[in-house]
Amino acid sequence: MEESKVSLLEIDALTVEYRTDDAIVHAVNDLDLRLDKGETRGLVGETGAGKTTLALSVLRLLPERVGHIAGGSIRYEGRELLQMPEAEMLALRGKRISMIFQDPMTSLNPTHTVGDQILEVLNLHFPEMTKQQKEAKVDEMMTLVGIPPSRKTDFPHQFSGGMKQRIVIAMALVAEPELLLADEPTTALDVTIQAQILELIRNLKNQFHTAVLLITHDLGVVAEFCDTVSVVYAGRVVEYGTVEAVFEKKNNHPYTAGLFGCIPDLKDDQPRLHPIAGRMSDPRVVHEGCCFCDRCDHAMERCKTVAPAMHVHKGHGIACHLFENREDF
């Protein structure tokens, strides 16, 4: 990741707050992220880490009045999204950048046929296409995601969860976007269906050369599906790198190491798991030092007061004081 090259998506020092009557919730804090053309990056973290907020910020879909982007920048192909007029954003959403939401049961409109819902994307973004061309494109897309086009006059409730997610994917990819934000696309599905859906996204992504930001809490999905990974905790990226470097499990941020310790292994037998002590820190509290220091086994006095810088070695970044002045990781 060289600084000189313009990436497809560049997020710098993004800070997002939710302002409620009681308090300000710091959902995303000073977050940096890069995504190149055709790259698949996993964004891993637990509930409340700010993963979904990040994706919504990119599309500028944060809840009105409550969600505020307090600072930072989001550039898409070098253009600042945060200052872009809403009309231009509309042309971008769904066409160049699209999103798959977590729950296929609620992200489809129950009163429209699935064919119409895929068609809507084309009507919005490709007014120059003829009706026949659009219908043909819908049929083609449904075939691609493995649903017979004869079912396009069916309504969402007539499909199973896995099939609904296939339709959502068809909607997201029908305009052949350059960037796909997939927010926990398989969390609500069974493992065998999850494997099908991930394989489908992988195949379509290769076909359309789409870059994917895969938001998930499942390190296993990242290991099998992604090229690179960013681990987020309390709205910050605490570690990033290639999947090979991070999953080698030799040099990791204490939080990433903790996540690995929580997962029972299919291969080895371990009598006990090693959970991360304590709970997620309160997002209403601003941390002076390291956001993870309350739960960290290696916490030092300095961690409480000085926020660690990102220490980078060969494209593998770890935001932890332990890795300061270390050349070997």
Partner: protein, 316 residues
Amino acid sequence: MSAPMVETINLKKYFKTGSGMLHAVEDVNLKIEKGKTLGVVGESGCGKSTLGRTILRLQPATDGQVLYEGEDVLKYKKKDMKKLHLNMQMVFQDPFSSLDPRMSIHNLIAEPIEVCDIFKTKKEINEHVVRIMEMCGLPANLANLYPHELDGGFRQRVGLARAMAVSPKFIVCDEPVSALDVSIQAQILNLLMDLQDERQLSYMFITHDLCVVKHISNEIMVMYMGQTVEYAKTAELFAHPLHPYTQALLEAVPTPDLSRRNRERNTLKGEVSNPINPAPGCRFKPRCRFADKECDGECPLKEVSPGHLVACCKCG
């Protein structure tokens, strides 16, 4: 040999639906010994939760027997049910909807104790609630809070505390950690295992997560569309999965392990259908790579090696 803690014999549960009889649980035979855990694995709709609920008589069984220490609990009269609930309890999947939002944590845990008349005086009940809370890792200052004030991990501890309050010997855990983050999941799994060691509890652990089930179970039963397709000791099942469905499940699990990254994937095609008026023969046949004419016949559960049962006519 003494009777196992819990045993089912040809347990069946059918539901009447508009389009026919739904065979949710079909002839399930299982045995759980004292202090042991049976993992029940399968995808949504395979009947694993229905099985758990039927064993606890939360819904009436269609046919078969459920033996608790050799006694058929399905024959219990209504007045004997208290005895059943003192011995057998359940932890539910969703800690967000299984707790009454209008009851404080203290009252939620005291409720089963009061219902089962374990203690007579208020003081004894209160002392017991404090003990149970401590045992389940709930700080005492939570006692007067309400469920919405707790996070998922603490709520699931309250769910467990409610089950533990009557000191049962057998607990059906229905996906107790599926709704939780991994770091919290690991805490709850450790707690369940510590309680088991301390009190020689038996668990029936229902889950779709093979990593979790491997970690916690002594024996595993794999279900598909209401039927047991494979039943074996945990180590044996993971070392030699025989049924094509078990193999497909194991292959589909994503693991944070780079050596599996470039493996050849045989992704299972198709989806689970409903077991409404099922045809005889193997129910997995439409999705199976190895299926042929032979699979239209009966495929009973056979013992292929000591303690390892498989329902597939292509195995053994």
